[in-house]
């Protein structure tokens, strides 16, 4: 898959499939398995339909037909949520690891 058409056109992988969704959603939206299935099935189909090296197939899925503001803000200043403080992040990490090491 590719989430950035301009970068992929420069890198030139042998085959690519593009979905015009915000970064972090190339294979769909959370808890929408049918959309995810459709995207992934289309990607598998592209293995056979792409015959020209470097071809990029653009899939027709639309993130939100009523709201395209994400296209103005994706990967611009302020698009990332605030990161947790280092100490809080370290505690979350330690808790995750401890959860499994206790088993």
């Amino acid at each position: 898959m590719t989430s950035a058409l301009d970068i992929t056109r420069a890198v030139k992988p042998p085959r690519a499939v593009f979905v015009n969704f915000p970064l972090g959603h190339q294979t769909g939206k959370p808890h929408q398995p049918e959309l995810q299935r459709q995207i992934v099935r289309d990607a598998m189909r592209a293995f056979e339909t792409i015959t020209r090296p470097g071809e990029i197939v653009e899939l027709p899925y639309v993130w939100d037909p009523n709201d395209r503001t994400w296209e103005e803000t994706d990967y611009t200043a302020g698009f990332m949520p605030a990161r947790p403080a280092r100490e809080a992040a370290d505690q979350t990490e330690a808790a995750r690891i401890a959860k499994y090491r206790q088993r």
């Binding site: 890198v11 042998p14 995750r96 959860k99």
Partner: protein, 155 residues
């Protein structure tokens, strides 16, 4: 309109040294010699997915994680600094469609889903590091498993 991410990246990192984007001329190409329904396929993501107690990534991290093919959603986590990860944390299938690939294997849309899947963190400034450190290791894994095709999902 699809976004041009190169100018947005330049703007986002305008206080840093000018970044030399990789521009390739040659396009690697191995034709598919049989239907994908008969191929052994590996799933991988650059979205920073972790399994259970695997250590988190850090910036410029060229390491990768092996994610068991049967990994269940509660055991998948995310560490990435380059994209909003809330949705991937809620449902890793957004960037790592492991559940969907298991379904496709069961439905014989693909021949076999290779075990394990792979995850790395794509926020690596050094293309050299990716080319010389990360990619060869992934290729080695794929060759060892006799993988015939791989499906890379970026963040």
């Amino acid at each position: 309109m699809p976004i041009d991410y190169i100018p947005r990246t330049r703007e986002l990192y305008r206080d840093y040294a000018h970044y030399r984007w990789v521009v390739n001329e040659a396009i690697p190409w191995t034709p598919l010699t049989k239907p994908i329904a008969r191929c052994k396929l590996a799933l991988m993501t650059s979205g920073g997915i972790l399994y259970r107690d695997q250590p988190r990534f850090h910036r410029e991290d060229a390491s990768y994680r092996r994610i068991p093919k049967d990994a269940q959603p509660p055991d998948l986590y995310v560490w990435h600094f380059g994209y909003p990860t809330a949705d991937a944390e809620a449902d890793a299938n957004c960037v790592f469609p492991l559940e969907r690939m298991r379904e496709l294997e069961a439905a014989r849309v693909i021949g076999e889903l290779s075990d394990p899947a792979f995850s790395f963190m794509g926020g690596i400034y050094s293309a050299r590091k990716v080319r010389e450190e990360l990619a060869p290791k992934i290729v080695g894994e794929l060759r060892s498993a006799n993988v015939e095709a791989f499906y890379l999902v970026p963040a």
